[in-house]
């Protein structure tokens, strides 16, 4: 098996189409990881991942090899995720409490930090609260806070300027806080 992505890509470009499967196997976990931040339904994540690889296949000739292949693939996955967020017909205006874990809500509403929710519940809570954010703002906040990317990296991945990334992150954080505040008060009523 060819270890180097560049060499593998050369072989694919020269007609070894089947070797694209090796590339998929090598990078599928990374793509699923990115897309899962924007979609919780596993079936949809799978569809989006397939779309990502299909786009990579279509535009393989445009990959110039200046950046590593996984960077280029990340950009495609982020574009697919953004399109998905934009095309979601029914954005939930109200967060359904029934969708969220009881312990996550209890933790949110408790004054202290005791009994932290599980990672999956925290992610679910954030996902629900972020549903009302504009897709671009949500993506910037996700990259910054959940993927731990730097502002410069986000600029490179999204094409936004440094100032735009900071403004979007600030705006998204404020909106997210408001959405979580609404959740906090909801249960007290």
């Amino acid at each position: 098996m060819v270890n180097d992505d560049a060499e593998l890509l050369n072989r694919i470009r020269n007609g070894a189409t089947d070797e694209f499967a090796v590339l998929v196997q090598r990078h599928q976990a990374q793509v699923f990881g990115i897309l899962h931040r924007y979609e919780r339904d596993f079936q949809k994540v799978e569809d989006l991942a397939q779309e990502t690889f299909l786009k990579a296949w279509r535009f393989l000739d445009r990959f110039d090899g200046r950046a590593p292949f996984h960077h280029w693939l990340s950009r495609i996955a982020l574009r697919v995720a953004l399109d998905h967020l934009r095309h979601q017909k029914r954005v939930r205006a109200e967060i359904a409490l029934s969708d969220l874990g009881e312990s996550a809500l209890d933790w949110l509403q408790a004054p202290g930090d005791d009994a932290e929710p599980a990672a999956a519940q925290a992610a679910e809570l954030l996902h629900a609260a972020m549903a009302g954010l504009p897709p671009e703002d949500r993506q910037v906040l996700t990259l910054l806070e959940l993927e731990g990317r730097s502002v410069n990296e986000i600029c490179e991945l999204t094409g936004f300027s440094n100032a735009a990334v900071r403004v979007r992150a600030h705006r998204a954080r404020a909106k997210l806080r408001k959405a979580l505040d609404r959740l906090e008060t909801k249960k007290h009523e």
């Binding site: 599928q28 397939q50 930090d113 932290e116 992610a123 809570l125």
Partner: protein, 101 residues
């Protein structure tokens, strides 16, 4: 929602394990790739070939319309359409040669 709690929420969510791709995922992608390859864009010659039945039908309809027009014209006028066309072209030709009889 205080800053500390929001930060904690992000921290917890960051540690979530992403879903594992299904075992046959690469096969699914390759099937889609092959479907895409089969549906590759056609050459202009192929496109013309694909259009052939419609082009042939259009030509037949056009010929039918011409024949019908000729039949209709000759039934309602003393001379036929073809004769008039011959006469007209003859006149135009002779006029161009300076012999307009």
């Amino acid at each position: 929602m205080n800053d500390r709690k929001l930060k904690k929420l992000f921290e917890l969510a960051r540690t979530e394990t992403p879903p594992t791709p299904p075992g046959n995922f690469e096969l699914r992608v390759m099937c889609a790739v092959r479907r895409e390859e089969r549906a590759a864009p056609l050459s202009w010659w192929d496109q013309l070939g694909a259009l052939f039945p419609r082009l042939a039908l259009a030509a037949v309809l056009l010929m039918g319309a011409c024949l019908f027009a000729d039949y209709y014209y000759s039934a309602h006028h003393a001379s036929s359409f073809a004769e008039d066309a011959t006469q007209f072209s003859g006149q135009a030709l002779f006029a161009a040669n300076g012999d307009g009889s």
